[in-house]
Symmetry: C2
Amino acid sequence: MTLKVSDVGEKELVRYIIANSKDITPDDTAITNFNDTNLISTCDMLIQSRHFPDNMSYFDMGFKSVTVNVSDLAAMGAEPLGFLLSIAIPKDLDVDSFKQVIDGVLKACEYYEIPLIGGDTNEASEIIINGTALGTSDNPLMKDTYNKGDLIAITGEIGFAALGFEIETLNNIYTKKALKPLARIKEGLILKDYATSATDITDGLASELYTIKKDGFGFMIYEEMLGITGNYKSTAEKLNLNYLDLILHVGEDFELLFTISKDNLEKLPIDCIVIGEVTGSDVVELTLENGFVERIKNEGYEHYVS
Amino acid sequence: MTLKVSDVGEKELVRYIIANSKDITPDDTAITNFNDTNLISTCDMLIQSRHFPDNMSYFDMGFKSVTVNVSDLAAMGAEPLGFLLSIAIPKDLDVDSFKQVIDGVLKACEYYEIPLIGGDTNEASEIIINGTALGTSDNPLMKDTYNKGDLIAITGEIGFAALGFEIETLNNIYTKKALKPLARIKEGLILKDYATSATDITDGLASELYTIKKDGFGFMIYEEMLGITGNYKSTAEKLNLNYLDLILHVGEDFELLFTISKDNLEKLPIDCIVIGEVTGSDVVELTLENGFVERIKNEGYEHYVS
């Protein structure tokens, strides 16, 4: 029997690439030493039928294609340098719709203060956008350089986008987050001087915790610190969804997940939500509101596995 | 009536992007001033059904995705710095086929001495590869900095790939060029010290000449200098194709098209084919083998227009 991509999953494929290329940095972005500093580079491809909800506007598609890439720069504490846009569109797309996508890209570049410096146009059967974000950093903020006893924090509420994807109506905080997430580029630039490590939450809190986990280190997350409101729980319940699954295993929030010493937390000049701590347990755990402790499953968004 | 993308064509769309973004360099790549040198960056998306001939191997698909991007670095005379790979594949693709694509990418990176530094994996209904090539250059070789009287030259025969795409059999020089073109990265690094301008030939000689044309300058190309063999002409004739159309209006050769002073041509330490000269005529012309002179049409590969 021939093994298909769906039999092995995305992580196995990525493992094959990394095992065969000694120059890949296993972090949020590539890091290339360059004239006494580091060039930070990252790329992300978004495909209409898979990454853009049906109710997303063309403008928001363009905006999001910048956000997902800038978010990786933010996770490194990098200063934005430039953005490259590769875009493929169907030939029967309205010119106005194309212009709205481009306007979304340009608005996002302006918002994140990252100049659009180049790109490529192409034809495809649906909209495909590949962004490349370039940045610089003297001291890139790595994802696994934390210490035991560090606090674990996030730059804003998580799970909003996950819930928003399930809601049809547009005018609520959850859908807004799903359709127009914002990258935490300014927060990343501050965190690089205070945090011990950082990554961005794209595939869900659980998935990111397992991605940053080192041997001999563990994480304890406290449900009561996640700031889950009654409204969040009841909205999820009405949709027959488990609110903890939404918060732990979906992602697309683009908040930064970072670790910080207790001393530095007091000095940190930005708002954040402390959600747990780095332990020596070697496991990833959740203390529920009722006091019970359970393992968090290593489940998040993964391509090819349906 | 709503205007569709196919009504206006690719060049009009690119014009909209460039008109709205002051930071785009209108050349083969982006150029970003960076710590006393220039970061050179470029991206190109290849889509299986549109860019890869049916008889192309998975390995060659991967190889070509690096070549098309490195070719733009070559056109700037840039030193390779790093390559980012965004790849989307169908979930029913064989794992072995995926690995062959990656092996092609890795082999090309080794061949061009450009490290694979990062990337992204995705799911799509066909193979889509977006490459980003990064490089450096103290003095980027621009595409339109030529002078009247400069000679026009290319780094190797053109039109081979165009003919190769039309041939079913694999074992001939034309098909080889169509399936595995090579970027002229080493030649670009030498040309930056001798040439007055350069670009790479992707959309055909005619299209590139019109792309680099400045007001008040023209080009005279000589058919007899294009090195068209009897075998080339007879192969085209058997396929009912016009050999000059193949050479002028198809592309995919990835040879460099450059201009050079007569003095520097004598000193140039690499082989090249001189095909014409920069004139003050303000038109793009071809002197046929029979002595007649005709205008070259501004036609080349363009997306959306079928």
